[in-house]
């Protein structure tokens, strides 16, 4: 009876952690490879590992930091395995523009714009992409980003501003207009 209560409690705790942090973990994994499906796989794997740890009775003081660390490691492991599979082609170059056949023109233009954005994001440092993803995907402010990435809020402001400016200049140079 006691073990049943313990198991149910652990599962409830895990599900609460999952609901609280799944998007953050996804965002971090996405920032590494700019691949939404891969990011989801990495997030699920990180969560699964956490669940196994909890089932074994491991005490994790900071599940968020633990998950982010595991997600980063999984993303790096993917790089190594992808390099073995694909040679010098980086995983993100294997991405195709996500689009459906017979899309209306606006949809195709949108996809093209997104592809251009993805290419420019790929040229930024991973740390900059992490900040951009947290800012624009999750609407985190500088304080929240700084807390999550364990860096200075001033550094977040600076990197965010620099990355935005660079992206704006490069996309303008490519003729990308504000059509979205």
């Amino acid at each position: 009876m006691k073990s049943r209560v313990g198991k149910n409690s652990r599962r409830a705790d895990f599900e609460a952690i999952y609901d609280r942090h799944n998007r953050e973990v996804w965002a971090l994994a996405y920032a590494r490879w700019l691949n939404a499906d891969l990011a989801q796989d990495i997030m699920q794997e990180a969560m699964l590992r956490l669940w196994r740890q909890m089932q074994e009775g491991a005490k994790i003081d900071n599940p968020r930091a633990w998950l982010l660390r595991v997600a980063r490691n999984l993303a790096e492991d993917h790089a190594k395995s992808s390099f073995r599979r694909n040679g010098t082609q980086a995983p993100q170059t294997m991405n195709t523009v996500r689009g459906k056949d017979d899309q209306p023109l606006e949809g195709l233009e949108r996809q093209e714009t997104f592809q251009q954005i993805r290419e420019e994001l790929n040229l930024l440092a991973t740390a900059d992409r992490e900040i951009l993803t947290l800012r624009y995907a999750l609407d985190y402010d500088a304080t929240e980003i700084a807390d999550m990435l364990e860096i200075n809020a001033t550094a977040v402001h600076m990197r965010l501003s620099r990355a935005r400016q660079r992206l704006a200049e490069r996309l303008t140079a490519k003729g990308i207009q504000e059509t979205l």
Binding site: S3, D19, L34, A168, T172, E178
Partner: protein, 101 residues
């Protein structure tokens, strides 16, 4: 504000563009938490035991029914136990068996 900045994506422009991009990339819904959709083991042990009990009881009932039917029709059983009493094929009962030289 100079013309070069006017032609470039402004702060609002790049913000909107990036927001649109990242919102498009992020899944609208995330799947359920992994490792928790499996059957709950705590109640599973009870259902496992009860199903085993039911299977065992069914087997016992089948055995009892078989033995009951066997007792109800004793002749076929005794014939099986005594091979000498088994009639030969083609041999009518009561007619002595003839042996051809």
């Amino acid at each position: 504000m100079n013309t070069h900045e006017d032609a470039a994506l402004g702060d609002n422009g790049i913000d909107q563009m990036l927001k649109s991009y990242f919102r498009h990339e992020m899944p609208a819904r995330f799947p359920a938490a992994p490792g928790t959709s499996a059957p709950v083991p705590t109640s599973g042990s009870w259902s496992l035991m009860s199903s085993r009990f039911i299977i065992g009881a069914s087997l016992v009932a089948l055995m009892l029914a078989y033995m009951g039917l066997a007792a109800f029709f004793p002749t076929s059983t005794s014939n099986l136990l005594n091979p000498n009493s088994t009639p030969h094929i083609g041999q009518k009962t009561g007619i002595p068996k003839t042996v051809t030289p």
